[in-house]
Symmetry: C2
């Protein structure tokens, strides 16, 4: 069986996709078989691994619609041990589907349950919204990992995300945990960064990862080459940080 992590935060641009790609790649590099699922109609996790737009390719929406078995949409990547279930723009249709209450929210869980035994970790990248796609990811997940920029607007969104977490636990997924809060694009030189980080540590305590991800332009360059950071520039601060994060996630899993 595997551990399913939803990478979620409705605030835009906080590093959800960068974290999903590079945590998944770092787990694979540690010989932990990992699947990355692109649940965002923007498809940034797919293109960031070199899977450009291809309407003919099997994808998550076709699997959710039960047009294909999920396994038919799982692709190997350049990195051994890392597989991808690519997204598509059509995913935006999930938000407008008028299926019966109770079915709408559990489509992704049904799909991922057929894949759980093939991977040790399944990492789901979510869109910047508390919409039906993100809801599906929270219902399917064992835990959520929350990337967080240490800036004012990011603080604002925390309570809304926690309220959503409570209602998902109450209605569909009582064992959903917080895997951790990850400080991303962190610049310890600014007062703003330090103050917001202090505020978040006071609020989340132990659930803040020891690893922080620094702002590092190599992380922003890597997706244009279709590679995770550890294949693009292994010696960069960005690569080191995500390898460190993978170690923390693995240690957390072993101690459970």
């Amino acid at each position: 069986p595997s551990r399913i992590l939803a990478i979620t935060n409705q605030k835009g641009g906080v590093g959800k996709t960068t974290t999903a790609i590079n945590l998944a790649a770092s787990l694979a590099a540690a010989e932990v078989p990992t699947l990355l699922v692109d649940c965002d109609p923007q498809c940034n996790a797919s293109s960031g691994l070199g899977f450009g737009r291809d309407p003919a390719r099997a994808n998550l929406y076709a699997a959710l619609r039960e047009e294909i078995p999920a396994r038919a949409a799982v692709f190997p990547t350049e990195l051994e041990g890392l597989s991808l279930l690519p997204g598509t723009r059509d995913l935006v249709g999930v938000n407008f589907d008028l299926q019966a209450e109770g079915e709408r929210e559990t489509q992704l869980r049904r799909v991922l349950d057929t894949l759980r035994d093939d991977f040790a970790f399944i990492i789901v990248d979510c869109p910047p919204a508390l919409d039906l796609l993100t809801l599906n990811a929270l219902v399917a997940a064992d835990a959520l990992l929350v990337p967080m920029q240490c800036e004012y607007f990011a603080l604002e969104g925390v309570s809304q995300l926690m309220e959503t977490l409570e209602s998902v636990r109450a209605a569909w997924n009582p064992t959903l945990e917080i895997e951790g809060v990850l400080f991303t694009q962190y610049d310890e030189r600014t007062n703003l960064g330090r103050q917001v980080a202090e505020n978040l540590r006071a609020h989340f305590g132990e659930r803040v990862f020891k690893t922080t991800i620094p702002r590092n332009v190599r992380l922003a360059e890597a997706p244009s080459h279709g590679k995770p950071i550890l294949l693009y520039d292994l010696r960069s601060r960005g690569a080191e940080a995500y390898l460190q994060l993978a170690k923390e996630v693995i240690a957390h899993e072993q101690s459970r």
Copy 2:
């Protein structure tokens, strides 16, 4: 009559809210009466001007639902000439409303038409999605202003945004223009920034604003004080850039 600008880009974190607040404030400072409309359930534009969460306050959702006249939800701000129509978390309900086709998309236009004569500019902040809220803003707007980070994932989203623009023109708003593409959080020291900027200029040509917004931590600090940048730190590079942008938008309006 006034010019309505929708600040739109489905890519998250590109500076939509920062641009909406500071362009609106800079226009007001140039003695051009301006209304800022917060059309994002995150309500960052509202809190960035000091209007924290207040379920009892009149807001855009109540106006869209025709529970109150729009004018009852227009509030003066600390800056003379700048008014705010605040958002609310309840806006997320707009995406799930099952009103008749054709009505769902034109709710915001109906509301803003009652306010057009009171302001020279109406600036609408949008959420990071091509959802019904953003669609409402594009139907109501005269033009869209697209903040763009000069990074790889931002490039990916351009074609999707342009396709949405075409379908809005065809179905509801034939005269919708592109006001311009604005480079935000721009760091000319990085190759990535310069290369993507070159790519965007080749694609959009004249429609790229001459003004670019540099990365400037003062812009990220200002909202935690509930102030636009020109009231928080008028001498900062961020304040200068947005005042410059306002001049460009005014000149563009006068030459139309």
